[in-house]
């Protein structure tokens, strides 16, 4: 075990995979001597040099397209899109090539491309919008979003080893804020299973990335009020762990979903809808969703703070949910 930051865990995973597998390489902007946006590729250039750590022109679409093409030739490229707000520039390659290739070739083509990108609020406040829900809607793509250094390492490793395209959404606030234990050596977190971040009996909170931490913060407060919250860190958004979520809701009968992206049409909508479809008879209160309100994410810090869901907001949603006595038919 060593204590590393979220960013260090991500870089560590990439470095280890590059050591293990000569077909793994990195394409991105400013990933060379600069070390990547927010130092998210730090040290890789020094160790692996310009052949395997390739600074690219500002051409997100070509970067992703080239990664896909190289993947069809047996390579396992990682594309670094500096910030998630640039994914729209590469949308055609991601949605119409990466996602379709395997199915449309009846499995002949595999696309082991990892697309990593930084999203959400963060220390520098730039480029906060996060579109992970779009990609979870598109068959053929996998989507992960870690909340801890250990999962950052394990999911990045799994993404690189996966034979399908995987998008890794790296929340920026977490980047340098957290230092935590990460297993030494091989550490793979399979894509799919969620993580039980806190066991509880009264209310299930399903959260992603930064909101996992805020949900845990809320849970600590709620414990003092006699509400025992179960926090599930979704960590894989596509596929997502319906099993763990449904089992938890069977137990608690109450569900709150929390994420940083816009509430409307966010990943929480899918979780909530699936639970309303498949665990309805176990629900004892309305499902609640917590997410950003329907405005573009503003720039100034005091506005940003009001837009991004707080631990208090999550706590309030849980309180309302817990208070509800059960369905009035």
């Amino acid at each position: 075990m060593s204590r590393v930051t979220f960013a260090e865990a991500l870089v560590g995973a990439i470095a280890d995979e590059m050591r293990r597998d000569p077909d793994v390489f990195l394409i991105g902007q400013d990933i060379g001597p600069f070390g990547g946006a927010m130092q998210g590729a730090r040290g890789l250039f020094d160790e692996f040099g310009p052949r395997r750590v390739r600074d690219a022109p500002i051409s997100e679409s070509a970067m992703v397209g080239a990664a896909i093409g190289a993947a069809l030739q047996g390579k396992r490229p990682i594309v670094e899109i500096s910030f998630g707000e640039f994914l729209p520039c590469a949308m055609n390659q991601i949605v119409l090539q990466a996602a379709n290739l395997r199915y449309m070739t009846d499995g002949d083509a595999r696309v082991p491309v990892t697309i990593r990108t930084r999203v959400g609020d963060g220390p520098y406040r730039g480029h906060p919008q996060s579109y992970e829900a779009w990609f979870a809607h598109v068959p053929g793509l996998k989507v992960v979003m870690p909340s801890t250094p250990a999962d950052a390492r394990g999911l990045m490793t799994a993404a690189i080893r996966d034979d399908d395209p995987v998008l890794v959404f790296e929340q920026m606030f977490l980047y340098h804020a957290i230092r935590d234990e990460v297993p030494d050596g091989e550490h793979v977190v399979p894509i799919g299973p969620a993580r039980l971040a806190r066991a509880g009996l009264d209310v299930t909170v399903v959260a992603t990335a930064w909101m996992v931490h805020r949900a845990l913060e809320a849970a600590r407060q709620l414990a003092t009020e006699g509400i025992d919250v179960e926090v599930i860190d979704l960590r894989s958004l596509a596929p997502w762990d319906d099993d763990m979520v449904l089992r938890s809701v069977h137990k608690t009968g109450r569900l709150v979903v929390a994420h940083e992206a816009w509430k409307v049409g966010g990943i929480g909508a899918e979780i909530a809808a699936a639970v309303a479809e498949r665990a309805f008879s176990h629900l004892r209160a309305p499902i609640a969703r917590v997410g950003a309100p329907s405005i573009p994410i503003p720039s100034a810090a005091p506005l940003r703070t009001r837009v991004i869901p707080s631990a208090e907001q999550i706590g309030d949603a849980v309180r309302v949910t817990a208070r509800d006595a059960g369905p009035a038919v």
Partner: protein, 324 residues
């Protein structure tokens, strides 16, 4: 002509056997694609553009990657080893088609080292082809990728990003514009303010324009660019000027096109010209050529007959989360 160019000409256009083979493939393309159009009113006819297509891809090595334009790619798949009857099944959306009915009709098998068509949006295959070049450069191999695309497609942002990326990274990719003068109903004058070849200078790569109806010229020009790429000297852009004799799709009578506009191009359509040259050079006589036509037509008919016996795709072909 430079020394390299002479070398290229020698290596691609001097062998009678190969010249006849080129003719054979162009004819095969004409007949096979006609059959596709006959059975599918939404097929995209390639009549008139065969010299550009065959000339661009004929001389590639089997381990090179071919990424043909969506219009007329079947001959490229066939030259590289795809089975005609399965291509026919692909065109008809049958379960023996290479994608088993899943992908667009003009796709082909990955096994013959192509970039398959998995969606209909134009421009993205330029990215995937560039990535093949990236893999080759990464490996230090001497494989190359040739990608063709339409004159309309050349205006998509992906064109720019990819040619620039290939130039920056010195990738072994040859970009061939299959310039047929049209993008559906729009004529190239309306969307191309300058020749496509003039765009090459902006990426510091060679750019050449070639008569796309002269298969020898196409082979030579593309051949030179392929050699350059293979040597590690980077990408090139080639504009092959040809013409879409038919409509955008088979049932399209092109009412938007001035009457007679296609006539000058019909007069120089590549197959007849090639046949005349073969006869002139004594490589084939009329009898041989019409025998060849009959033989190929029979093969094509047989391929389609077999394809039509292929079942319509069903639940097995659907795959994944197939609903019951």
């Amino acid at each position: 002509m430079t020394e390299a160019a002479v070398g290229a000409r020698e290596s691609v256009v001097d062998e009678p056997r190969r010249t006849l083979e080129v003719y054979r493939w162009m004819l095969w393309s004409r007949l096979f694609e006609e059959e596709c159009g006959r059975r599918n009113p939404r097929w995209f006819p390639v009549e008139g553009e065969e010299a550009t297509i065959v000339g661009s891809f004929f001389d590639l090595r089997p381990d090179d990657v071919a990424a043909p334009h969506y219009r007329g790619p079947f001959v490229v798949y066939a030259m590289r080893g795809a089975e005609p009857w399965r291509l026919a099944a692909q065109a008809l959306g049958r379960s023996d088609g290479y994608s088993r009915g899943r992908s667009v009709p003009f796709s082909g098998p990955l096994s013959v080292n192509i970039v398959p068509w998995v969606a209909g949006d134009l421009g993205t295959t330029l990215g995937v082809a560039t990535g093949a070049g990236l893999a080759f450069a990464y490996e230090g191999s001497d494989r190359v990728c040739v990608v063709s695309f339409g004159d309309g497609t050349a205006n998509r942002g992906d064109f720019h990003e990819n040619l620039n990326l290939a130039a920056c990274w010195n990738l072994p990719v040859v970009y061939v514009c299959q310039h047929n003068g049209w993008a559906i109903s729009e004529s190239a004058e309306s969307y191309l303010p300058a020749p496509i070849a003039a765009r090459a200078a902006g990426y510091g790569m060679p750019g050449e324009s070639v008569d796309g109806n002269d298969v020898d010229a196409v082979r030579e020009t593309v051949g030179r660019a392929v050699q350059r790429a293979r040597r590690g000297d980077g990408p090139s852009l080639i504009e092959a000027r040809t013409y879409r004799l038919g409509g955008h799709w088979s049932a399209d009578r092109s009412p938007y096109r001035a009457a007679g506009a296609a006539e000058p191009w019909r007069a120089r359509e590549p197959l007849a010209a090639f046949a005349a040259r073969l006869k002139e050079a004594g490589l084939a006589d009329s009898d041989a050529l019409s025998e060849l036509t009959q033989q190929l037509q029979a093969e094509v008919t047989e391929a389609f007959a077999r394809a039509e016996r292929s079942p319509e795709p069903g639940p097995d072909e659907l795959g994944w989360e197939a609903p019951p």
